[in-house]
């Protein structure tokens, strides 16, 4: 009996994995996708206030942009269009923070 349950569980897991690989955009992978998008929204949603940040805050935002860039580079396959668009958006946002940081440092 235990053996049957064991094999049934293995079967269920196998089916789950198969389904996951057949539908890469299924809810099972949504968490990972949303994860970087949420970080993107948090980092790049602050460009309006770029001039209000201290150099330390700006450095932290730039580092977060760099980490996000690395994560974006890992996206491939059907997400190619998404990566292309977000890479452009992220670049604009990172460069604004770098520009503002340079301004702040020259101001001193």
């Amino acid at each position: 009996m235990k053996k049957i349950i064991f094999f049934a569980l293995i079967g269920v897991c196998g089916l789950g994995m198969l389904a996951g690989s057949m539908f890469p955009d299924s809810p099972g992978t949504v968490f990972a996708a949303d994860d970087w998008k949420q970080e993107f929204a948090e980092v790049c949603g602050k460009t309006q206030n770029a001039m209000e940040f201290t150099p330390e805050e700006l450095r932290s935002l730039i580092n977060r942009c760099i980490r996000l860039e690395e994560r974006l580079n890992e996206l491939n396959g059907p997400q190619g269009s998404e990566r292309k668009v977000y890479a452009t958006r992220l670049k604009m946002c990172k460069e604004l923070y770098i520009y503002t940081l340079e301004y702040r440092e020259k101001e001193k």
């Binding site: 949603g45 269009s81 668009v85 958006r89 770098i98």
Partner: protein, 261 residues
């Protein structure tokens, strides 16, 4: 008599020669409905389609510059975006809005099989395609200007005649209220020419910060970048928009506003 005739014939030949040798460097000024028109041909002709004709006037009535050039990711130069049909079909670039729900669908695999009518709505260079929105009809009630599209877009928004959206659900980021930087004065180089008051407020309301800095305006400290009208006419600095989409450079007094002391 013969001499006079000879001179007359010679004059005509010289005149015609000069006229025909004129290569013509002067560009034809676009008509109001053509102003801001962009032709995109990254992959169109390769796919046996006509290049895309994009009219800025129609889109700027409904959206700020930032929505398209920051949130959607269109570059500021024509053909620099590398738009592919697959991007549009995946809901990016034109496909962000042209998804068959918000606006007519862009780039579907079976379009060509049914008819080319839908493709032709965008891929229309050199074709006689009747636009759904007629320029004169659509812009009839908007305040007029002398140049460009012949419309004062800034006043049109101030008077509530257009309400360009700065947000697309699922694409734009919810941002805080913009902290507007101060306006500043730029000296004109030509004696007697009124100075320029650059209004951050007027520009950021449509563009945000990252559309202009640092890609268009890289100078950190005021006064370090020297702007010349030659640069601007060549599409740099203010010329990135003014001269192609925003009011053109012929309209001197819209920038050179400060009275000379």
């Amino acid at each position: 008599m013969k001499k006079t005739l000879f001179l007359a014939v010679l004059s005509v030949i010289v005149f015609l020669g000069v006229a025909l040798a004129e290569t013509g460097v002067k560009k034809r000024r676009p008509l109001p409905f053509e102003y801001g028109r962009v032709v995109i041909n990254n992959y169109s002709e390769g796919a046996r389609l006509a290049p895309v004709v994009f009219d800025h006037w129609q889109h700027r009535m409904n959206f700020t510059c930032r929505v398209c050039h920051v949130d959607i990711g269109f570059a500021m130069e024509a053909e620099a975006t590398d738009i592919r049909a697959v991007d549009n079909m995946s809901g990016y670039y034109c496909g962000t809005c042209h998804d068959g729900k918000k606006a007519f669908s862009s780039c579907e695999l079976d379009f060509g099989l049914k008819s080319t009518e839908t493709c032709d709505r965008c891929h229309s260079l050199g074709k006689k395609v009747e636009r759904k929105f007629d320029f004169a009809e659509t812009t009839r009630g908007l305040p007029k200007e002398r140049f460009g599209n012949g419309i004062d877009w800034e006043r049109a928004e101030d008077e509530g005649k257009i309400t360009p959206s700065d947000y697309i659900e699922g694409v734009s980021i919810k941002r805080d209220q913009l902290v507007v930087q101060k306006d500043f004065l730029l000296d004109a180089k030509v004696e007697g020419m009124p100075e320029i008051i650059f209004s951050h407020k007027k520009h950021t309301v449509w563009n945000g910060c990252e559309l202009c800095h640092p890609e268009i305006f890289i100078g950190i400290k005021r006064g370090t970048t020297k702007y010349s009208m030659v640069d601007i006419y060549e599409g740099r600095f203010c010329g990135a928009c003014h001269g192609s989409v925003a009011f053109p450079l012929l309209d001197c007094q819209r920038c050179h506003t400060q009275k000379v002391q």
